[in-house]
Assembly symmetry: C3
Homo-oligomer: 335 residues x 3
């Protein structure tokens, strides 16, 4: 695909070359993401950052990525203070708000609405998550993380063995990720979920058609054996009709030091799209694993900055200008 | 009036020369508003953008206009997280917040409170809407749009025939617009509303005293005949005591392709202060008119950027520095 | 202490030298805070401004101070739209959000949680208030204001006589301020509060151990006699179990022109951490004192900008670069 001026709505729009190109740009962004250098390549540009559903990390990650490239961010994060409550259509919002910025990130509670928004926007639109449908930048940063974690262990992405665990029905990030994994026909995937929250069959078929080995299980301890990566997820409470329904499924798959030692192969990498629910009744990944160097969840969040910077730079066609506009950092850097 | 350092609180403070001066600056802003060029003339300046009532478009439009001039924006948009809930007076808020920025835009649910805020502010204050009282920048961008739409059709603003339709009682934008139209004594206005939502008599008198021909009607199909422009508006639900009361008046005046073809003169321009309420029970302007080139509502929203940039540039006295601080855009521009 | 890269969590971490160093930097910031000059020393840096509890002034003051140094601000101000509602721990939030900015300000409703956040953050953390525990930057700007107000009257900080009035139990700003005052053993303090809202005994003991004269009173008219400064505070309604409980204590200590004339020594300075509650039932400082030049509350708010700029500049180690990156202001300045 041609990234310049493109909408980023779904992982379906990428082929393997696109993803590799994006990741090579993300690698170039790392020194800026980690504050070794600064760039002002988007000085004067405006991101419209529109989150019509609860978000801190994704919203701030997009905004900071844009600031790191030198741009301004205009934010709309409170759905109740939005024009939408006055009966405005998604298409009108798109036509109007796209006159106020150079690129837009939008999260919307309703599946498909981001596509409708993009149809009427005059500037590129990046999907920040639409209902339980897609969250393409999360899937891209997840795959980028998988690639880097395996490289660090001299393992091979093309032969990845991965267990994907948790709410596979409503978890939009795992839907998108499974599609990206399908670029690699020799990957084997174990899908571990409660029966009622299993991966939609169309996505399972998608992977199998691409040649992947897919195993479906509700047995956590079995599922996480002999894999390179465990990718576990939160029960998506906000997608259930009642909190009580969500509660039925919480706390079924707790990964902790004891389970990890007993059941996992050495150096199994642990990932999570975050936030991890650390309330005792959920506790998807126990704090006792925080000191395990194979816990990759915070590196994963960090990688989001570089991947999102790369998307902005490619969509706005400034990749080749980043080096020339770079400078040294003149303040104290801690991390 | 002298714009430098002035508060922009009401259309009453302008004469025709002021408006013409402002519009000529707004024309100069167009290449920056449409991203042909960038300017950093307000690099380092801070806008305090304070919206104590629901707003997306006006809030983001002000913020983006300030960013387009190079400035920072500090925003307060959630009334419940504000100091006001701790019993702080408007005057204290003004004295304190004006120490934190170089210019302030404020929307407040209570008529007159923006004037009180301005009395105690140490920096210029721009009224972003106070209750059902005034919304001067909306009226200015409306008049700017009327002028440009007529020019494009080689018609003459001084002889404008306009139908103003909808909730004329609570719609603050039409109150302000009617005052601006009164600069032109040969304009004829048809005011179309339900009887209970008719234009306040003082504004009708204001227009008649200025020489305008004003006709009051509750007949939509008659009212929109033989005009250059239909300016239609939303029932201001939030100003009614109950939602049920507002519902009584919704959906009375639906403009659609059929009505337009049957009743309107050729090339009648359609405007709306937005958001248009597109719920079936309201549907002020049907989507079937979206492809009609005379639908000016999105050009109207776009014009808001140039007009608001002009106001900032004039109030902060940087009009003459814009050209010298301009540069080319080095990223991909879609629109 | 070494400010470079440090967390600013409590006034306990400072000694008198630290405070004096900070104040001398704050004095250097004044021309930038009052718009005589601009600096871009933090151009490209990002502040994560996270307010998980109601705030306008402190939040905007931190953000504007960072903008005045040239940096970007990414804000999270709505607790309900935060990842915390999805069960995320404070420590995870700290690890993740600290990857998105160069320094973080955080306010949190729970005492001690800001310290926990700082323990896991990879960038410096500034406490913007944690429950009824601490609010160190408020205490610093208060002491800075006391110092400047006394200097203007040729009085001596080391011999200050001060009355601290109001909700001394829940008012975190007075807790922090009392500790800073304890650097000066010859200060005499009168603590005036309802019996049930008196200063915690550990803080009284802290001051007495440092040599200060501390008098505890519930008699307002007596307490404000013969002091240089009255520092009065708001009943912290949000810390009470019910609004009705808070109401019992409101309006007990109203300072107005009449009381001031009758009971205060000439030129007694009046301070308040703001917002002042101006509802008739509270009315801590009546509007009839607003014209009294000894009312320092708005100078106090203004001083917050310079003090917070100084903290950012010291923590990020750019104090020595401010002059070299300064420029003249090229827009109209009102104040």
């Amino acid at each position: 695909m041609n990234f310049i001026g493109a909408n980023i709505l779904s992982v379906d729009q990428f082929n393997l070359d696109d993803v590799n190109t994006l990741f090579s740009v993300a690698e170039k962004m790392q020194p800026y993401a980690t504050r070794e250098k600064v760039t002002k390549v988007l000085d004067g540009a405006i991101l419209g950052n529109i989150f019509l559903e609860s978000s801190t990390r994704t919203r701030v990650s997009f905004g900071s990525a844009f600031n790191l490239l030198g741009g301004h961010v205009r934010e709309t994060s409170d759905v109740s203070s939005s024009a939408f409550v006055k009966g405005e259509s998604v298409r009108d919002a798109a036509r109007i708000l796209s006159g106020y910025s150079d690129v837009i990130c939008i999260r919307h509670p309703k599946s498909g609405s981001v596509n409708e928004f993009a149809d009427f926007s005059r500037v590129p639109v990046i999907n920040g998550g639409d209902g339980s449908n897609e969250h393409p930048t999360q899937a891209l940063l997840d795959l980028f993380t998988i690639k880097k974690e395996l490289e660090n262990k001299n393992r091979d992405l093309s032969k990845l063995r991965i267990a994907i665990v948790g709410d596979l029905l409503f978890g939009r990030t795992v839907h998108s990720l499974c599609k990206l994994l399908s670029f690699y026909p020799n990957i084997s995937v174990v899908l571990v979920s409660p029966d009622r929250l299993s991966m939609p069959t169309d996505i399972v078929e998608y992977m199998r058609s691409a040649g992947l080995s897919v195993c479906i299980s509700n047995n956590f301890n079995e599922g996480i054996k002999n894999v390179d990566i465990i990718y576990t997820t939160r029960i998506q409470e906000e997608r259930f009709e009642t909190k009580e329904q969500a509660a039925l499924y919480r706390g079924k798959f707790i990964l902790n030091k004891d389970i990890y030692s007993k059941h996992c192969a050495p150096e199994t990498v642990v990932m999570h799209p975050l936030p991890r629910d650390s309330r005792p009744e959920a506790n998807e990944i126990d704090f006792d694993l925080d000191s395990n160097p194979n816990l990759a969840i915070f590196r994963q969040a960090d990688n989001g900055i570089a991947v999102r910077m790369a998307i902005f730079a490619m969509v706005l066609d400034v990749v080749n200008q980043i080096e020339t506009s770079s400078a040294k950092v003149n303040w104290h850097v801690s991390r």
